[in-house]
């Protein structure tokens, strides 16, 4: 028999602030960010598989689960995620004055 599934609280108590006039925009952004997260996770998983295959030729799921990037590889992944975030959110601020105008 499987162990009982533990459910921890998932929603913080307190009113969620609304940032845009239309609450659908606020909701939509959380959908987009969750999707962006999952794309990043899939990319990391693919990257793990490619790196393992480079070294071993054949791999198992357990190999993937056990894999942890070292510092150098994590830095490469960070750079890739940084470029990815810039691409996804490139429209934000396109029509906004640059921060060089004061501060």
């Amino acid at each position: 028999m499987a162990a009982p599934v533990i459910k921890l609280p998932r929603r913080a108590k307190g009113k969620r602030p609304q940032f845009f006039e239309d609450p659908a925009i606020d909701q939509m952004m959380t959908f987009i960010l969750e999707l962006a997260t999952e794309v990043s996770v899939v990319y990391d998983r693919l990257d793990t598989m490619e790196r393992l295959l480079d070294n071993k030729g054949t791999i198992s799921r357990a190999d993937v689960e056990a894999y942890r990037p070292d510092e150098k590889i994590e830095a490469e992944r960070m750079a890739r995620r940084d470029a990815y975030l810039k691409r996804v959110f490139r429209m934000h601020g396109e029509d906004t004055p640059s921060s060089d105008s004061g501060a």
Binding site: R10, A12, K13, P17, S40, T96
Partner: protein, 376 residues
């Protein structure tokens, strides 16, 4: 991201959970470095000129800035993403804790080490914790989901590391290091004696103090049982002798004139106007004559410009740090005086936020923490 030190009881993420947590971290770095600064452009290039045109003057304080900046689409989008990133931190960490909790609970039961844990179910969780979950951690510090629960402590340890983007160091104990370094700079020869850490949560700060001061006797109190249970086993795993007990800092069971040093690490802003007075009263009662209290907290409004003041208060309105807004304007010297501390012996120190060679919790290297200090 800087790698977090993972002791025996740590909720270790699997491959995809780690990838999710790394993404949240990188997203927050992206927001802080690339998106947040754009608020200055939006304000000085668009919002301020429009306000000046209508009113014939600039906004006089952060409240006026709030009225207009919250209508600006750039700010709105940044704010929404910042808020979402905070929710994503907890969600990404709760996955790991839910999956690993049975194993962590079993390890917690048999963990060997120093220190003690004294729980008191009669301690009431104050309204400033039950009203809203502080910094959006679902269930906050005090919610039990299983018997002898340590989950909220485990969620807190990984979640706050991601919150600070690793800026508190691999042991996540930067605040303890900052306060301890300040203490030993100001009082190099003071006998450490009996120390009480108020609002300890999982003991991140006090464990460092205990490691640095082997002659001390260390007590750590909090109102919330799950974080104390986790803090106790965490301290054991790290070899620190700390006595954790469930107590409200507003009214403890330490005897009058019995404590040499009371400390806290960003406790005060998570309480209330009444509670802060009660806490200072209690510090005065339990300290020995000549005893010292040191409360490290977040910056006050002070000399911040209207825009800076508004941006600093983002956490008040959007991250359930409700009392921080009041603390930013509070005359803490009055609170201390009312508690019985001699005004001449009270001082607000602005303390360097460097916890190790050039490393600080915030990217602004000029950032300082106020430490409210008084000798009895």
């Amino acid at each position: 991201m800087l790698q977090q030190a993972m002791h025996d009881l740590f909720p270790k993420p699997n491959h995809d959970e780690a990838a999710r947590q790394e993404f949240v971290n990188d997203f927050r770095v992206h927001l802080a470095a690339k998106v947040f600064p754009g608020n200055f452009g939006a304000y000085f290039g668009r919002v301020l000129p429009a306000f000046a045109k209508t009113n014939g003057r600039e906004p006089k304080d952060r409240h006026e800035v709030r009225k207009v900046m919250t209508q600006d689409p750039y700010y709105q989008m940044w704010s929404l993403m910042q808020r979402s990133s905070q929710e994503m931190i907890w969600d990404s960490v709760i996955d790991t804790v839910e999956r690993t909790l049975p194993d962590l609970q079993a390890k917690a039961k048999t963990a060997k080490g120093k220190g003690t844990l004294t729980l008191d179910p009669a301690v009431e969780i104050p309204r400033y914790h039950t009203g809203a979950d502080i910094h959006l951690q679902p269930g906050a510090y005090h919610t039990d989901s299983v018997p002898d629960d340590i989950a909220q402590g485990a969620v807190y340890e990984r979640g706050t590391f991601l919150y600070a983007m690793g800026g508190m160091g691999p042991e996540n104990d930067g605040l303890g290091r900052i306060l301890h370094k300040f203490f030993r700079k100001e009082w190099p020869n003071r006998k450490i004696g009996k120390v009480v850490d108020m609002g300890t949560t999982i003991g991140l700060g006090i464990v460092y103090w205990a490691q640095k001061e082997p002659d001390g006797e260390f007590h750590a109190i909090d109102v919330a049982a799950p974080v104390l249970r986790y803090g106790h086993v965490r301290a054991k795993a790290l070899g620190a002798a700390v006595h954790f007990s469930q107590q409200n800092a507003e009214k403890t069971n330490f005897a009058d004139n019995s404590v040499d040093l009371v400390i806290s690490h960003i406790l005060l802003h998570e309480t209330s106007r009444n509670a802060i007075q009660n806490i200072f009263n209690e510090c005065h009662r339990i300290l020995k004559p000549g005893g010292l209290m040191l409360h490290l907290d977040l910056p006050q409004a002070g000399a911040q410009s209207p825009l800076e003041g508004f941006l600093w208060e983002w956490e008040v309105y959007n991250n359930n740090e409700h009392f921080y807004g009041q603390l930013r304007e509070l005359d803490v010297s009055e609170v201390a005086a009312k508690a019985g501390f001699d005004k001449a012996k009270f001082k607000i120190h602005q303390v360097d936020s460097t916890w190790a060679d050039g490393q600080t919790p915030y990217s602004d290297s000029n950032f300082t923490f106020p430490v409210y200090a008084a000798e009895k």
